[in-house]
Amino acid sequence: MQSVLRQFVVNGDDGAEPGEVLKLPGSAFAISEAARSGSLRRLWLDTFDWRLYRSGLTLEQISSRGSTDLTLTGRDGAILAADHGGNGPLKWPGGLDVLPLGPLRDQLGPVVGVRALLPVARAVSSVRESRVLNSDDKTIARITVDRMAVTYPAAGSAPPRVAVTALRGYQPQALRMVEQLAAVPGVGDGSASGLEVALAAVGRRPGDYSGKINVRLTPRMPASAAMAMVLTALLDTLEANVNGTVRDIDTEFLHDLRIAVRRTRSALKLAGDALPDGVAGRFRPEFKWLGDLTTPTRDLDVYLLGFPDMAASLVAATAEELEPFHDYLRRSRVAERRVLVRGLRSARFARLSVQWREALTATAAARTRPSVARLAASRIARAHRRVLRDGNAITATSPPESLHELRKRCKELRYLLEFFGSLYDPGEQWRAVRELKALQDCLGEFQDTQVQHEELRTFADQMMAERAAPAATLLAMGEIAAGLITRQRQARNEFAGRFRDFASPASQDRIRTLIGIAAA
C-alpha cells in the first residue's frame, strides 16, 4: 500500500541515531527516536551477463529472523513478483529450476533463459525505522535508515540510505517534510537501487560484463594499438569465463569463452599483420589448441540444450525411447568436461594467458602505421568481396562444403564489423549487419544440422559399441536424423533468397558507405 516517497543518502554519518543525523531545525515536523530496528541479510542475484539488470529488473533475496524472501522489482522499484521462501533457503548459483513454480519463475524465465542466477552482491543491512510527527504528534511518514555493510564481491560500507514512506492521507505533509530534509547539509539524492549502492561501495557497478566487444577506437589510432585494444578486450572476456566454465555454472560460460577464442583467431588471421612481426604466427597455434579443446563439450551442450525440443518433435517414437540417448549424451559430457577442465587448469593455458597479455601490452605502446580506419576499410572491403564472390559461385548443385566455406567468410566479415564497430555510426553499422545476420542464420542452420546429423551417426555407432543402444532408441535417433535432414533442406531452399538480399545493390552500398565514412 505504502510506497517509498523519496530516498536519500547521508554523508558523513558516524552511526548516530537517525533523529540525530536528520534534524529539521525550525520545522513543524519532528523525527522520533528509532521505533523499530533489525538486521537483514541481503543478496542480489543476476546472470553473469546481467540479463536482469539490462532488462531493468532487480532480484533480491532478503533473510531476516529465519525467513527468506525473494523479490523481483522493476525500474521504478515496484514489486513484480515475490516468493516467500516456503521451500526453505535456496542454493545459488542455480538455474531457474532452483525456484519453485510460480509467478516469480514465470517472469524470470524469458529473461534468464538457460543462464544460471548467481550472487552479484551480498550485504548485511542494519535498519532503523523512525517516525515523522506533525504538530499533533501524529505520524505522517516513516523514515528508515539502512546502513549496509557489503560483504561481496568485496568488503566495504555504503553511506546510510534514508527512505521516506508517506502514510496514507499524509502525502502532502510528507512531501513538505521531504523538501525540508533534502535541504539539510549532508543529505543527498539516493535514487540508486540497493544493488547499485552496494556495488558502488566496493568500486563496482552493475552491468560491467558483456560478451560484446566494448572498445572505443578512434579513426586515427595506429592499427596496431587498435588491434591490441580489441584483442585485450577479447582476452578479458575469455578469462572472465574460465571460472564459470570450470565450475560448470551454466553452459554459456563455455559458449562465451569459445566465441572469444574464435574472434581472437579470426582477428589474428584477418588483421594479424597489424601486430608486430611474429606475434600472430606465434599465438595462432595456441588459440587453435584452445578452440579445439572446447569443441567436444560445446557440441554436447548444444545437443543437450536442444534435447527437450528434439524429444517433443518425435512423431513415431516416444520421448522415453530417446532416454538412453539422453543418458549417453550426459555421460559423454562428463567425460569431455574432464578433458576441458584439465586443459583450462594446465600450465599451457596459464602460459598462453600471461604471454598473450604481455604481447598485447607491448603492442599497445608501439606507434606504427597505418591508421585503424584504413586497416578496417581495407579488411572489411576484402572480406565483403570474398563473401560476394563465394556466394555468387554457389548454384543449386554446389556441394555442402561450398556453403560451409561461405559461412566462414560471412563470420569473418561479421567479426571485422564488430571489431571496428566503434569507428562507425551505430545505426549504419546495425543496418549493414542486419542482412549479413539473416544470411548467417540460414547458413548456420544448414551447417549445424549437417554436423549434428553426422554426429548422431557417430553417437549411434559408439552406443552400439558400448551396448547402450536398445533398438527403440536407435529408431528414435533415426527419426531425429530425418528431422535434421528436413531442416537442412529447408535452409538450403532459403539460401538463394537470403543471399540475393545480402548481395542487393542497396545492401552493397551500405557496406561501402560505412567503411567509406570511416576511411575519410
Binding site: Q2, D69, D136
Partner: protein, 256 residues
C-alpha cells in the same frame, strides 16, 4: 470483509473506546482494518491524533462525489486506517433522506472497500436516526455496550425486536457489559447473571477502569499503550468472542 458496528441509543457507554480498541486488536492480528468515525464529535479521530475533517464534508462522501479512498488516513499503527469524523456528519440524516434507499446507502458505499480491508468498524453516534438505521443494515455484527442496569437490558430487547423486523439479512448482535463498577452490587449481579441466561450477551465484559479514561490523555488505544493491562485483556477477550461469532477467517499472510 466483515463489518462491525458499535451501537447504542445511549451516549457515554463506551462505544468509541470499544471501536478504537477492537479495531486496533484486529489490525494487530494482521487484518487490514478500517475504522469509520461516524460521530461528529470525532472522539475516535481524536484518539488516533487525526484531525476530524473530510474535504467536502459528509455530504460529498454519502453522495459519492468524493471517493472514500481519498478521505481515508493511516493511523500510527500497521494495518489500521481511519475514515475521520467531520462536523458536517451531524447533518447526515438530511443527506441520507435525500438519497435513494437511505437505509442501504452506507452498505453500498462500503462494498467497494472489500478488496482493501478485511475488517471495518463503524463507530456510531448515539440515538435512533436514519444514519443508525443505515449502519444497522450495513453491519454484519452489532457490538452493543450495556451499562449493567435493568433499563439497558430493556433497550437491548427493543433493538433486537427492531432488527428482527428487517427484510433480508440482519446483523448478529453481541451485547456486552461496559463500565462495570465492581463496587456496585447491582452491576456485579447483572453482569454475572445475564451472560449465562442470554446467548446474545458476551461473557467478556469491560470494567470501569481509569486506564481506559487515560486513553484521551495519551491519545492511543489502551490495547496499544498498555497491552498487558487488565483493560487491554478484557478488550482482547471481547474481540476473540466477536471474531469467533462473526466467523471471521484467519488474517491474510503478511504482505510483501
Amino acid at each position: 470483509m466483515k463489518t462491525f458496528a458499535t451501537y447504542n441509543i445511549k451516549g457515554g457507554v463506551g462505544k468509541t473506546a470499544t471501536a478504537v480498541n477492537l479495531s486496533y486488536l484486529a489490525a494487530h492480528e494482521g487484518y487490514r482494518t478500517l475504522l469509520w468515525d461516524l460521530d461528529p464529535q470525532g472522539a475516535a479521530s481524536f484518539l488516533f491524533r487525526i484531525r476530524p475533517r473530510v474535504k467536502g464534508g459528509g455530504k460529498a462522501l454519502i453522495r459519492g462525489k468524493r471517493p472514500m479512498d481519498d478521505a481515508i488516513k493511516a493511523t500510527d499503527f500497521d494495518n489500521l486506517d481511519l475514515l475521520p469524523a467531520d462536523f458536517t456528519y451531524r447533518n447526515l440524516d438530511l443527506v441520507l433522506d435525500a438519497a435513494k434507499k437511505p437505509s442501504r446507502r452506507l452498505g453500498s458505499l462500503l462494498a467497494p472497500l472489500s478488496t482493501e480491508y478485511d475488517v471495518i468498524f463503524l463507530d456510531c453516534p448515539p440515538g435512533i436516526s436514519l444514519l443508525s438505521e443505515s449502519v444497522l443494515h450495513a453491519a454484519d455484527m452489532l457490538l452493543v455496550p450495556l451499562i449493567p442496569t435493568t433499563l439497558s437490558v430493556r433497550t437491548l430487547d427493543q433493538l433486537t425486536e427492531f432488527i428482527g423486523s428487517f427484510d433480508g439479512s440482519r446483523p448478529a448482535i453481541l451485547a456486552f457489559f461496559s463500565m462495570i463498577d465492581r463496587r456496585k452490587r447491582l452491576h456485579r449481579e447483572i453482569a454475572e447473571q445475564l451472560p449465562v441466561e442470554r446467548d446474545d450477551v458476551a461473557a467478556a465484559a469491560i470494567p470501569a477502569l481509569s486506564l481506559i479514561e487515560r486513553m484521551s490523555v495519551e491519545r492511543a488505544p489502551v490495547t496499544a499503550m498498555a497491552p498487558r493491562s487488565a483493560a487491554a485483556r478484557r478488550y482482547g477477550e471481547l474481540w476473540q468472542e466477536a471474531r469467533e461469532l462473526s466467523k471471521l477467517p484467519d488474517p491474510p499472510a503478511a504482505d510483501i
